[in-house]
């Protein structure tokens, strides 16, 4: 029987043929936890008296959700991670040289082609853009993976999405994934994997591929995957990994569904309150008044995103009724913004530059919205109450729309051609 790419990848790890629906324990290559989720995992280890960590070199802690800590309790959680990391020789990326887990890990170059990576954060699916089977897990899962270097998975069915043709200028990878989420709905890919292929996908940069795979969780998917090609090989080459073996899905692989998307047809999209699947053509929302714009997060907080924002912001002023918060995804991204000369211009335009962090993305920290306020964010979720007051609202967009709207003081959409 033919295998999908995901089935092939899991089979490769286990050395035997594995198919959808089977539950198996798989060896994991990297285990990531954040300051938000790791404390619960450590508590599980303590409750079960587990004093041994299997492969500390496979484990990474990242301080990003409440970094730098906002109060005493989050400072204590952060300290808990560091103390544990020290004791067990685990690498712990503090905010001073870290950033958002899903921006930081791909920068580090510690993941290899077709690795299995688990992270105690739902957007761990981001690394599918690097040809990695990566999935979000919970804290008990993380405790299990830390203690055994293994984890159970139920092999998912795969939905295949083929995207062909050229994206128009002004249309970003974010619009493509928003439109797919709109098409599938918030649970359209629940328990499943999504494999992206086609000529459009092949032309995307690594950053764009990660934006796409980042958001597959918004339609419930366990993982998103883009197979390794020349672009991915180049990424791995730059990270010092030269032998990129390649595997392909079988031509008679068993897909649950296959969708064909024409890239040329695609217009800029906006995810309206209170769901990333509540997607409309951006032009329908032109003129919507906004109080705050956030450019950042693991979806759109890479240097490539700030280069786009810069095209709009350079020499311009943020509208007087709007607060613009730029959140570099990592320390490296911030450094690069400085090296490329953007930082100075962003500051001159009255943007607020946040430290690399999750920040306003999940409303637990800086940049929280007040009652009835309206935000336009490049992040991935706009659930009821996620970004601050339950009566606040967040619209999700690409970077161009966010930057232009910050200047205009209301939602505006750059020309598409």
């Amino acid at each position: 029987m033919g295998q999908t790419l995901i089935e092939k990848m899991i089979s490769l790890k286990l050395g035997r043929d594995i198919y959808k629906g089977q539950s198996v324990f798989v060896p994991v290559d990297i285990i990531m936890g954040t300051d938000g989720t790791t404390p619960l995992a450590l508590k599980v280890l303590e409750e079960y008296n587990i004093n041994k960590i299997k492969n500390p070199e496979k484990i990474i802690f990242v301080h990003d959700h409440f970094a730098p800590p906002k109060d005493i309790s989050t400072a204590n959680l952060s300290r808990m991670l560091d103390q544990f990391a020290k004791k067990f020789h685990i690498t712990s990326y503090k905010e001073d040289r870290g950033g958002i887990c899903h921006v930081l890990l791909p920068e580090l170059g510690i993941m290899k082609p077709y690795d299995i990576v688990v992270g105690a954060d739902s957007h761990t699916c981001t690394y599918g853009g690097l040809g990695i089977f990566s999935m979000g897990i919970g804290s008990t899962d993380m405790a299990c993976a830390m203690a055994t270097s293994k984890l159970w998975i139920k092999v998912p069915e795969t939905i295949r999405i083929k995207v062909s043709g050229n994206l128009k200028s002004g249309v970003e990878a974010k619009d493509l994934i928003l439109s797919i989420i709109g098409m599938l709905g918030t649970d359209g890919a629940n328990y499943r994997a999504i494999e992206f292929c086609g000529s459009t996908i092949e032309k995307l940069t690594i950053a764009e591929r990660m934006t796409i795979c980042n958001m597959v969780i918004e339609c419930g998917a366990k993982a998103g995957i883009i197979n390794i090609d020349k672009v991915t090989e180049q990424y791995y080459y730059e990270k010092g990994i030269q032998d990129c073996q390649r595997i392909e899905a079988d031509s008679d692989a068993n897909y649950l569904e296959t969708y064909e998307v024409e890239a040329e047809q695609l217009k800029p999209q906006i995810g309206c309150p209170y769901s990333p699947a509540n997607v409309r053509n951006a032009e329908e929302l032109i003129g919507t008044k906004i109080n705050q714009v956030v450019i950042g997060s693991c979806t759109n907080g890479r240097i490539e995103d700030f280069r786009i924002a810069y095209q709009y912001m350079k020499g311009k002023q943020v509208h007087k009724n709007v607060k613009l918060i730029l959140v570099p995804g990592s320390h490296n991204v911030l450094m690069q913004m400085e090296e490329e000369g953007m930082l100075k211009d962003f500051i001159k335009s009255n943007a607020i530059i946040s430290p690399p962090s999750c920040g306003p993305c999940m409303g637990g920290h800086m940049g929280v919205l007040a009652d009835d306020q309206v935000g336009l964010y490049t992040t991935n979720r706009n659930f009821y109450g996620r970004n601050g007051s339950p009566s606040s609202k967040v619209y999700l967009s690409n970077v161009s729309i966010a930057a232009l709207s910050a200047i205009e003081g209301e939602i505006q959409v750059p020309e598409v051609n």
Binding site: Q22, S23, V24, F25, G36, T37, P39, L40, K43, V44, E47, Y48, I50, H65, F66, D71, S73, T74, L77, A120, D121, S122, T124, G136, I137, G138, S139, T140, D141, A143, C144, A147, T148, K150, W152, K154, T186, D187, N190, Y191, I217, G220, K222, S275, M362, G363, G364, R381, F383, Y384, G385, R386, P390
Partner: protein
């Protein structure tokens, strides 16, 4: 018995608390309260955005009944922990989001997928689940059966009431 004590026998008998579709993890437990690992502290904020004083209104053994995609959103295990902390041992929904389902299985919170019950049960109804016969009762009337299509490792973890117990009993840790 306090809300956080384990119910020794996994037969469920309590009142129904009904919620709709797409109840996400930010509703179950908002991020700003995820700054503790304490089960009771988490529980106090559970569902509060959509139902004020939910924690106080729940009795040990009560059941959450919900629509589609319950628990969508974040991977935060604080969500099923907060529910357990309220004294709820069982969530019955039309469907669950993958991560919530996984976390619940790992923690020993009983999660049952049932398309029918949502239409048949009302707020405050008495819900009983007999795990020996897989039958679900509303106000004493047998209305539905647990469709148990889980097999292999997942079923064994459910039987062991959680992943860590499973690992212990299989000498994996």
């Amino acid at each position: 018995m306090s809300k956080t004590d384990q119910i020794s026998q996994m037969n469920i008998d309590g009142c129904a608390h009904i919620f709709g579709d797409h109840i996400d993890t930010d509703i179950i437990i908002p991020t700003q309260f995820c700054t503790t690992t304490d089960k009771t502290e988490l529980a106090k904020h559970c569902m509060n955005d959509v139902r004020e004083n939910f924690y106080d209104s729940v009795q040990d053994g009560d059941v959450i009944i919900a629509g589609d995609n319950f628990g969508c959103g974040s991977s935060r295990e604080a969500a099923p922990i907060a529910i357990l902390g309220c004294g709820i041992q069982c969530v019955i929904a039309k469907s669950f989001s993958r991560l919530f389902y996984r976390n619940a299985v790992n923690l020993g919170l009983l999660v049952i997928e049932d398309k029918e019950l949502y239409k048949r049960a009302n707020e405050g109804d008495r819900i009983a689940v007999d795990l020996d016969t897989n039958r679900i009762f509303v106000n004493g009337v047998h209305v539905s059966c647990i469709q148990d299509d889980e097999c292999g490792i997942v079923a064994e973890i459910v039987k062991e009431k959680g992943l860590m117990n499973y690992l212990l009993h299989n000498n994996m840790i």
